[in-house]
């Protein structure tokens, strides 16, 4: 019955060991997907490579559906799984800033780490910039604290917000994702840039 480390009295180091192993899997999956290449990632926004969309949605749906099935079989208590708190203003503003950073740097933090691990120098600089960003945030925190805390909605879940059952919402999400996959593969043909994609 999960989550294991919350329900059992494991010592802290086991939890950290699990974190390390999860990290290995995470890094491996990202690299294998091709997320270690900034030009592949940027392809998402110019249409010539839509790997990001495919991997991202498949992964979210597998984890979502998997956790609901584990809960149904009594193996996982979903009430004990962390749900991200929703600070409306901070989430939207932060997301917009992140989008700008994404297209400038070509990475997000996770893919940047994955690219660093195979020796990409631009990823190293990106992560260095990331550290500067985190430092700047900490130093400017007193000035933006109000924005960061505004419109707090708690760990709100989508089914409470929309008033439908989580399983039905999952099905809707899956259908939307399947439609997006179809669209993405058409876009790849339409905006094809063979001079870039053969290079990757």
């Amino acid at each position: 019955m999960g989550p294991l480390t919350i329900l059992s009295e494991f010592p802290e180091w086991i939890n950290l060991l699990i974190a390390f192993c999860i990290g290995i899997g995470f890094g491996f999956a990202l690299e294998q997907a091709g997320f270690s290449s900034s030009r592949k990632l940027a392809g998402m926004f110019y249409g010539y490579d839509t790997t990001v969309l495919k991997v991202f949605f498949t992964a979210a749906i597998v984890a979502l559906a998997g956790s609901q099935l584990l809960s149904f079989f009594g193996l996982l208590n979903l009430k004990l799984v962390f749900v991200n708190p929703y600070y409306m203003n901070a989430t939207i503003i932060g997301g917009i800033i992140m989008g700008a950073g994404f297209i400038m740097g070509g990475y997000c933090p996770g893919t940047g780490i994955s690219a660093l691990s195979i020796g990409k120098i631009d990823a190293l600089i990106f992560l260095f910039g990331g550290m500067v960003g985190a430092f700047l945030f900490a130093e400017t925190y007193p000035y933006i604290q109000t924005i960061a805390m505004e419109n707090y909605k708690g760990p709100m879940r989508i089914e409470e917000w929309m008033g439908i059952s989580p399983e039905i919402f999952t099905l809707i999400l899956i259908i939307a994702a399947v439609a997006l996959f179809w669209l993405a593969e058409h876009a790849e043909k339409k905006f094809s840039r063979t001079e870039i994609t053969t290079d990757l």
């Binding site: 974190a19 991202f56 600070y87 989430t91 932060g94 989008g99 950073g101 400038m104 933090p109």
Partner: protein, 170 residues
């Protein structure tokens, strides 16, 4: 160079989803990456100027329990990521030092924008309390509204900014 192809994206997605599911099942939480960067910074600031770290409204909470900020789930996960990426790169013969960029721009330009991108991305991630992995991906997997809003905001804004930075990539 004998380079192996990338994995089928859907299969890679299933793999990534299973890793995320394992994190939820084992530790009751999602994945994260920007948090690891933050803890590195917190640890660095703590090592350089402990006084400043203890007084700051932001840093002090990470030093409350007296342990190193790097002895943390997210920090350990990020160390694992580097190893995992390295293993994958080695298996697929992709290990190589290089600057990846469009041939039309100079190395310096690429590195400058990589730096700026990093600054923006992690600053935004701190504000939104998570990045593409911590907030968008893990958030969607637990159906949190924050996850969906983050995902839409990141990708929506990236599509708009993509028009301005077209020359960087194409």
């Amino acid at each position: 160079m004998n380079k192996t192809n990338y994995m089928n994206p859907y299969f890679a997605g299933v793999l990534l989803g299973l890793v995320l599911l394992a994190a939820m099942f084992l530790s009751g939480r999602g994945l994260g990456a920007s948090g690891g960067i933050k803890y590195t910074v917190v640890a660095l600031v703590g090592a350089i100027d402990k006084q400043h770290a203890m007084e700051s409204a932001y840093y002090s909470k990470y030093f409350e329990n007296g342990e190193s900020p790097l002895k943390n789930w997210l920090a350990l996960e990020v160390f694992g990521m580097i190893l995992g990426g390295f293993i994958s790169g080695a298996l697929s013969h992709r290990l190589k030092f290089k600057i990846e960029k469009s041939p039309k721009i100079s190395n310096n330009k690429r590195l400058l924008f990589a730096f700026l991108g990093g600054v923006f991305f992690v600053y935004g991630a701190q504000l939104a309390r998570g990045c593409t992995s911590g907030a968008a991906l893990s958030g969607m997997a637990v159906l949190s509204v924050a996850g969906f809003v983050t995902m839409i905001a990141i990708f929506g804004s990236a599509y708009i900014f993509a028009w301005f930075f077209k020359s960087l990539w194409i």
